[in-house]
Every structure is written in C-alpha cells, then in structure tokens.
Amino acid sequence: MPREIWYADAIREALSQEMRRDDAVYVFGEDVAAYGGVFGITKDLLAEFGPVRVRNTPLSEAAIIGEAIGAAIYGLRPVPEIQFADFLTTAVSPIVDIAASYHYRIGTPVPITIRAPSGGALRIGHFHSKCLEAWFTHVPGLKVVVPATAYDAKGLLVASIRDNNPVIYFEQKKLYREIKDDVPDELYTVPLGKAVVRREGKDITLITYGSPLYLAYQAAKQLEKKGIGLEIIDLRTLQPYDRETILTSFKKTNRAIILHEAPKIGGFGAEIASMIVEESFDQLAAPIVRIGAKQTPIPTNPVLEDNYLPSLKDVIDAAERLMQY
C-alpha cells in the first residue's frame, strides 16, 4: 500500500526490507550503527538486524570500500555508507581500480552498493556538498544511480542492491526530509538504466537527475504561463543511461536543456548534450543548453551558494532563449 513518506525514510525502508529478504545484505560505515548514520538513514537497523549486519567502522573509507569488494566476492551484498559523497575522494582507487574492473578481468561479480549522500544547498560548504557523479560515469564497469523521489529512492536502492555490479548510489541529502511522495510499503524495484518522463510538454525537453528535478518543476510551471511546454526527463541512472527515452522526447520537442547541480564544465550534462547531437542531429531546432553550477569551489555563504547553484532564472532564461529559434 502506498503512503507518502520522506525520501530519507524510503531509503531506510529499502534497506530494512531488503535485509529481511536477503541475509546476504548488510550495511556498515562510519557511525551507522547505534547512531543511525549522520543523516539518520540507518536508524533502528541495528536493533532489528544486530551488530553483524549493521556495523560501525573506523574512519577509513578506502578500507570500507575494500571490505565491500571482498565481501561481495565472497558472496555477500554489502551496502557501505560513505558519510558524505565528498569523502569518496579518499576511496577512488578501490572503486575505480578494483571494483570497476574486477568482473571484466577476473570474471567474478562484485555486487556492492555504495550509498553516498551528495549535493549542496545546505550551506555546508566545499567539503560536504560536492557532486562527483560525472567522474564515475567515465569509468566503465561502474553503475551510477541518482534518485530524485522517495519512490525511486526505494526502488532504485533495491535494484542497486540486487544488481551484480558495483553501483554508486548518490542519495540527495537535500531531499531527505524535504521530499515526500507515495511509496508502496512492499518491496519493488525501479530498473537501473531507465529514465522516466516526469512531466509531458511539447516544446522543450529538460533532462535532469537528482534534486534539480524540483527546480525543473518550478520552471515548468512558470513557463507554462508563458505558453512554453517543458517536458521533464529524470534520468535516475547515469550509467548506463537511457538514450531511448531522451531521444524519443527530443524527437518531439527538438529542443533540450540539461540541468544538473555539478559544475557545468566537464559535467555529465556534456555527455547527454553530445549524445543528442550525435544521434538526433536532424531534429535539432536550437542549441542544446547545459545548466550547471559555476566554475568555482562550493561556497558556504547562502548568498554565494545560491549564486553558485543553478537557479530558476537560469532555466527560464534558457527556455525562453531556446524558443526564439
């Protein structure tokens, strides 16, 4: 039965239900046990599943990911939490060098799901706000997932855990207790690699993922008043990503905006924009606009951070510009 629950609770529910279903699934990381994680995502899991399946670790991200890889090879389904996605910088080697290539090189699957709270707007600065997804989409062998709704947070997490590959699951910490939507109380999966059209519109396809989805909704409403129909695609998975859904929509609108929170330069938006041009050149009615954060480290001060992040105005301006073609 669906009920409205928070994004954060959807993640917890996915973890606990999947742990009940499959005793190979376990969670670990810094402060995830009694404390329930710094964002409370693993709260109460210790009580239900005990200290073997819900475990604090030393402050050692590389060792955490290393454990995950080994345990996965052994046959478990580890779901490590990295306290903030930013700290993945200290564990790039095990993810990229070992996990991503292990099945290709050695032939044994490495089913791990790395939960990493990602993204800004919380005024917590350069070391707690980064969006690192683009790096990992450039690493063959990894999957990259970014849920934008509570429904997806649950379904994509279950799918990630059941997937036989290393998945980086970038949960959007800004949405934890900001977004609530209908979530079935039973287990279900949202398949990896499938985007979803969140809103239909005839004029422009806006492709996004994660928390900027809500900015896109806002923009769509405003643009509607101006007679511009924004179709919104939520990618949900960045690697592999769903070309078909993008191209089908683009065939209709012939215009596209790609919106993400990571800096624009070198961001994942470039991949999408380039792909559209490669695949649908004949349908191009206007430039493809990428909107991302500015080219600076992430400032803390709200005035600066708001300016750093992509804004409603950025989207409206881009849409209006595109309609002039």
Partner: protein, 325 residues
C-alpha cells in the same frame, strides 16, 4: 624549559579565551533563528580539551607553522588569530579568513602560519610535511605542529605522512588529540590499542603520551618534541589524552556518550586544573580568575559586535580567486 609565572598566566588566559569564545558560539548556535542565522552551519567546539590546542601551540616560535584540526581554536588564538577573525569566519563575512567561502572551523591564514583545516580527516598531515620540507630546503629552523584526532588516525594519509616525515627527518610534531570519540564512534571501535602514540615506534620516531587536560604537561611534552625537531632530529608523535565534552557539533546531543564517562572527565576540566595549579603556586586567586573571565567575555562581546557589523560577501566576488593570477 620551566614556564614563568607570566607564561603560565598567559596560558590560562588563552584557555579562558577559547572557552569563552566557544561557549558563546554554542549559545549563538542553539539560540539563533534558523531562518536568519548569524552563524552559518554548526559550531565545532573544543570545550574540555582546550589544553591540547593551547599548550601545544604555546611551544611555537614566530617562524613556526601549525596545521590545526577542527578543535583547535585555542591554537589559532595563541598563534595570533583574533576573536574578530574567528567570529567573522563563523558569521561568514566578506572580511573573514575565507571571505564567506568556507565556514566555521574550515579556515587558514598563511600570513599567521596557520595552514588550515579541511574536512577530510587527516588530509593536512602531509601538507604539514611540505611546509617542513620547504623550511628545510630554505635552511629555516621551522617547526610545524600537525593536529589530528583519534578518528583521523585511521586514515591512510596519516600513516603515509608520519612515515614520510620520519624518512626525511622533517621538523613536524604530530599531535593526536585523543578525545575518545569520533562523532558517535568510541576509540574502542576505532582501534584496539591503548595509545596511538605507540604507533610512533612503527615509524622510527619518539612517541609520547600526556594528560591532555593539563596544559602545562601538554606544553612540556610537546616542547620536548619541538626542541628535538628544531635541532633537526626529526618528527615526533605526541598523544594528548582528553575527552570531547560536547557533541560532535552544536547540533549533536551526544546521547551515545555514557554519563559516567562525562562525569569522570568533568572532574578533570583543563581550566579548573589550571586554576588549581595557579592557586597552588600562588600565582593567582579567584578574584584574578574572575577578572580574566570578565575580560574575556568583554573581548568576545566586542568582537561579536564588530564582526556582526561586517558586510557579508558579495556575489560579484564569488568567482574571483578560483585561480591565482
């Protein structure tokens, strides 16, 4: 090496100033209107462990450097950073050390030889080595203090840095403030050994343990290591046993800390300790302490007014300084 009366009174003053400033930060954090915050983000305090920071930094000479951790406002004050500066940082002002770009304890000031702290635990340890190497190349008898926590000790980079410093006989004194907790993780889940200082032997450097709540003992222990480093005899590791008497940040009620552990440490408050010592030595009496407390309060109040008046950062400046000219 014995401290004079004047010095002891100065140490006391720094302890008090740190406590007063941080109590004030705590008060603001807890009472401010979250919609219109004066402080951006949370406070990270050294309450109850100020003696580590103050005692260690007090060993330094003018040309020396420090790489502080996130609970080292005491050291920053000893080093000559002002209460104004530190509050301006917490208030995220344009004229603060990071110009509103970064928040709270994430600051540095190279003109005062304060290298800075970043969130990634232990990350600055090898950077401290670099300062020491630079000094060595330039034949300056500079010493660098590098602070890290019991949690940070589990990061690979701390190991790399200590071994590296030993190989090149760098004038770095590594200071572990072992305050028994890393967020909710107690030391017994962080490592199985009694003393982090025992790792020193594994790098071929001296290791020492001291009472981190006794500022004189901290000073004397660190001073020995600093003198050794200054003579070119290489790095040391000093572990200061103390206790984190607050939550991890001002938002954390730290319910996971056992009452009796807190009780035990409350009786060993470093400021109380120092007052007892000064009284014993007949260097000061209660009236004196009262006066210092009042002076410090006044200093903090004045600085608060000053910092409050400072303008916030301007969007126009935001993207400046991403690259150095």
């Amino acid at each position: 090496m014995s401290l004079t009366k004047t010095e002891l009174l100065e140490l006391y003053k720094y302890l008090r100033l740190t406590r007063t400033l941080e109590d004030w930060i705590y008060t603001i954090c807890v009472h401010q209107d979250p919609k219109q915050p004066l402080i951006i983000g949370k406070g990270y305090l050294s309450t109850g462990q100020e003696a580590v920071s103050v005692g260690a930094a007090y060993t330094l000479e003018k040309g020396d450097w420090l790489a502080q951790s996130h609970r080292d406002f005491g050291a920053l004050l000893v080093r000559g950073m002002t209460v104004d500066e530190l509050l301006a940082q917490y208030f995220s002002k344009a004229a603060s050390p990071t110009k509103g770009r970064d928040a709270n304890v994430h600051l540095g000031n190279t003109s005062k030889h304060v290298l800075g702290f970043i969130s990634h635990m232990g990350a600055m340890m090898p950077v401290a080595n670099g300062i020491a190497w630079g000094a060595k190349c330039r034949k300056n008898p500079t010493v660098v203090l590098a602070f890290f926590g019991d949690g940070a000790s589990s990061q690979g980079v701390v190991h790399e840095a200590m071994n590296y410093a030993a190989v090149f006989k760098l004038s770095v004194v590594f200071i572990c403030n072992n305050n028994r907790w890393a967020i909710s993780t107690p030391v017994k889940e962080q490592f199985t050994i009694e003393n982090i200082a025992d790792r020193a032997a594994g790098y071929g450097m001296p290791g020492a343990v001291c009472d981190g709540n006794n500022v004189v003992e901290v000073f004397e222990t660190v001073k020995k290591a600093v003198d050794r480093a200054r003579k070119g005899e290489g790095p040391s590791l000093v572990e200061c046993k103390t206790m984190r008497m607050t939550g991890h940040g001002t938002h954390d009620m730290a319910k996971y800390v056992p009452e009796d552990e807190l009780e035990h440490w409350k009786k060993r408050d470093p400021i109380q300790n120092m007052e007892n010592y000064l009284k014993e030595k007949k260097f000061a009496d209660d009236a004196y302490f009262k006066k210092v407390v009042a002076d410090m309060k006044k200093e903090v109040e004045e600085a608060t007014e000053k910092a409050k008046q400072m303008p916030g950062p301007k969007v126009e400046n935001e993207s400046r300084d991403v690259y150095a000219p």
